[in-house]
């Protein structure tokens, strides 16, 4: 049997999870199926990539999950505003964002959702500045 691409596996799992195939979704069963397939085909190393791909297809189906990275803790209001912004931008039905505190971003905010990113951090601006300075 030809090796299935990550894209094909992720699409299948995402469809099963959202119940696009037959209207029913049994997440436990699908996860078990995927685990068995990866063990059987010795592709467990690709697990994290496949999970990311599944997230991508889930976000396309309207269920976005992602991470907000900031240097300091965000207020609930700001988090809500960001979630609202992501909802508007992606047209998703549900948005679930985890918060991550990372002092190395210095300031600003970085929102990572599957396949897309909004990087308004100070560290990113500094990287861009560093590159421009090097080029000149």
């Amino acid at each position: 049997m030809a090796k299935l691409s990550r894209r094909a596996i992720a699409t299948y799992v995402a469809e099963q999870l959202t119940g696009q195939n037959d209207g029913k979704s049994d997440s436990k069963k699908v996860i078990l199926q995927l685990a068995a397939y990866l063990v059987d085909t010795r592709r467990t190393k690709e697990l994290s990539l496949i999970v990311r791909d599944i997230q991508f297809y889930l976000s396309e189906a309207g269920s976005v999950s992602g991470v907000i990275t900031t240097a300091t803790t965000l207020t609930a209001e700001t988090k809500k505003a960001i979630e609202k912004y992501i909802k508007e931008q992606t047209g998703a039905k549900t948005v679930a964002l985890d918060s991550l505190i990372d002092p190395s971003v210095i300031g600003g905010v970085k929102v990572s959702i599957p396949g897309r990113e909004l990087d308004a951090t100070v560290s990113r601006s500094l990287t861009v500045l560093k590159t421009r300075f090097k080029k000149a």
Partner: protein, 508 residues
């Protein structure tokens, strides 16, 4: 439509623009999966296009790469910088454009890398325009047949294998046979004869010391002001070597498209093919003959097709190409040489044997050809070139045959002697390009038999003396002849008289 008010329309437009502006911030991103040997494999970026520039965020700034392998699960991108800075897990953004380089007259006199960054220690390059590195060649209707000569200043070439503006003429030969020397002399001649042709020299994987020497020489000869050098060294990543000729062509095309004339020298395309082979193998593309990828022909054909003579509607500019190919032991039937021979409009084949016999430039009269021919010759040169190539090839064949015996009839003897004189005459020192009148007078003196009594060893001295006398005594005629028109009876007479009287001093 008429019911729609301007205010409404303007509001709608403002809203649409506002929405577009905000979506711009949510960029599409990918992640570096693995990296090595100048190639990064990226996951994500499903909207990346072929040849599109990717920006990888490293700790020391942004490293650019361009996407060459677009596969179902990942992208194979060739890095334009050092791979040591790039690590797995780093974020990759789409730049939103394909590769482009600065173009324009600001580049004249500069040495740049294939991305248009100055490497001559001068100020940063600032041009008004950018040109696409990969660009489609001009179509049929935008072209015109090649008809203006591009004088190389090397009489053996200008007389026997004329090169026209817009032509692609391959310079091919083993290592150390004078291939680059021919190209450099051609560049110098553009300055000496004030042709206005812009030189673009592309050094593909050449030693930096060699490039430094070349720049010095061009400065000495006063040609650097009309020259752009795009240089890559063996220490550069293969991606830069691969890009060099395309980037340089984009710089040359600026002049072509602005009604000017440019000369491209690709030194050399063998190294270019090797760099592309390296990249292709690392990108895991299937190897073919000599391990080159299947599209190695297209690699060179799409590059050389950009050389053209434009139609009058497009400004009648031109881009001439002199690609260089290095052969192994004179084998012109190897993969890359046959490819480039079939793409170009002729080749100048340099032979090792001739080179070591002291015949320099070591041009093989039999294997060299220019498929544009007389159409790209000025009237002056055409008037003396008839039958010269055939005569010289016949002489070389006769000469090798005559080695076996000494009993030769008079006709053969005289043909061999004239051939020897002609061979001597066509020898030319490096950095010494000849103008039109010098070439015409020299060739006439041998083909018309004015130098028949001058021994072959004294031919060069006789030629130099005759040229000095002609310039001193008939400067006006020679200046007229230099314009390229067919020589008048009067001019021919003055050459004859001067040649015969000069020959007397060198007889015996």
């Amino acid at each position: 439509m008429s019911e729609l008010s301007i205010t409404e329309l303007s509001n709608d437009l403002r809203n649409a623009i506002a929405k577009l502006e905000t979506t711009g911030n949510l960029d599409e991103v990918g992640v570096v999966l693995r990296v090595g040997d100048g190639v990064a494999w990226v996951r994500g970026l499903r909207n990346a296009g072929y040849n599109e520039v990717l920006q990888i965020e490293t700790e020391e700034g942004i490293v650019e790469a361009f996407a060459l392998n677009l596969m179902e699960d990942e992208i194979g991108a060739v890095l334009l910088g050092e791979d040591s800075k790039v690590k797995a897990g780093q974020t990759v953004h789409l730049k939103g454009s394909v590769l482009s380089v600065p173009i324009g007259p600001e580049l004249l006199g500069r040495v740049v890398d294939p991305l248009g960054r100055a490497i001559d220690g001068g100020p940063a390059i600032k041009t008004k325009q950018q040109g696409l590195v990969e660009r489609e060649a001009i179509g049929v209707m935008g072209r015109k047949s090649v008809h203006e000569p591009l004088m190389t200043g090397i009489s053996a070439i200008d007389v026997m294998f004329p090169i026209g503006r817009g032509q692609r003429e391959l310079i091919i030969g083993d290592r150390q046979t004078g291939k680059t020397a021919l190209a450099i002399d051609t560049m110098i001649n553009q300055g000496k004869q004030n042709t206005g042709v812009v030189n673009v020299y592309v050094a593909i994987g050449q030693k930096r010391s060699k490039i430094a020497r070349l720049v010095e020489r061009l400065k000495q000869e006063g040609v650097m002001d009309q020259t752009i050098i795009v240089a890559t060294s063996p220490a550069d990543p293969a991606s830069l070597l691969y890009l060099a000729p395309y980037a340089a062509t984009a710089m040359g095309e600026y002049f072509r498209d602005n009604s000017q004339h440019a000369l491209m020298i690709y030194d050399d395309l063998t190294k270019h093919a090797v760099a592309y082979r390296q990249m292709s193998l690392l990108l895991r593309r299937p190897p073919g003959r000599e391990a080159y990828p299947g599209d190695v022909f297209y690699l060179h054909s799409r590059l050389l097709e950009r050389s053209a003579k434009l139609s009058d509607d497009l400004g009648a500019g031109s881009l001439t190409a002199l690609p260089i190919i290095e052969t192994q032991a004179g084998d012109i039937s190897a993969y890359i040489p046959t490819n480039v021979i079939s793409i170009t409009d002729g080749q100048i084949f340099l032979e090792t044997d001739l080179f070591y016999q002291g015949i320099r430039p070591a041009i093989s009269a039999g294997l060299s050809v220019s498929r544009v021919g007389g159409a790209a010759q000025s009237g002056a040169i055409k008037s003396v070139s008839g039958g010269l190539k055939l005569g010289l090839s016949q002489f070389r064949e006769l000469a090798s045959f005559a080695q076996f015996g000494s009993d030769l009839d008079e006709a053969t003897k005289s043909q061999i002697e004239r051939g020897q004189r002609l061979t001597e005459l066509l020898k030319q020192h490096q950095y010494n390009p000849m103008s039109v009148w010098q070439q015409v007078a020299s060739i006439l003196s041998v083909t018309k038999g004015y130098f028949d009594h001058v021994p072959a060893v004294k031919i060069k001295a006789a030629q130099a003396s005759m040229l000095t006398r002609l310039w001193a005594d008939h400067k006006k005629d020679m200046t007229e002849l230099d314009k390229g028109g067919k020589p008048t009876e009067e001019i021919l007479k003055s050459i004859e008289v001067t040649a015969i009287s000069t020959a007397k001093g060198f007889e015996g």
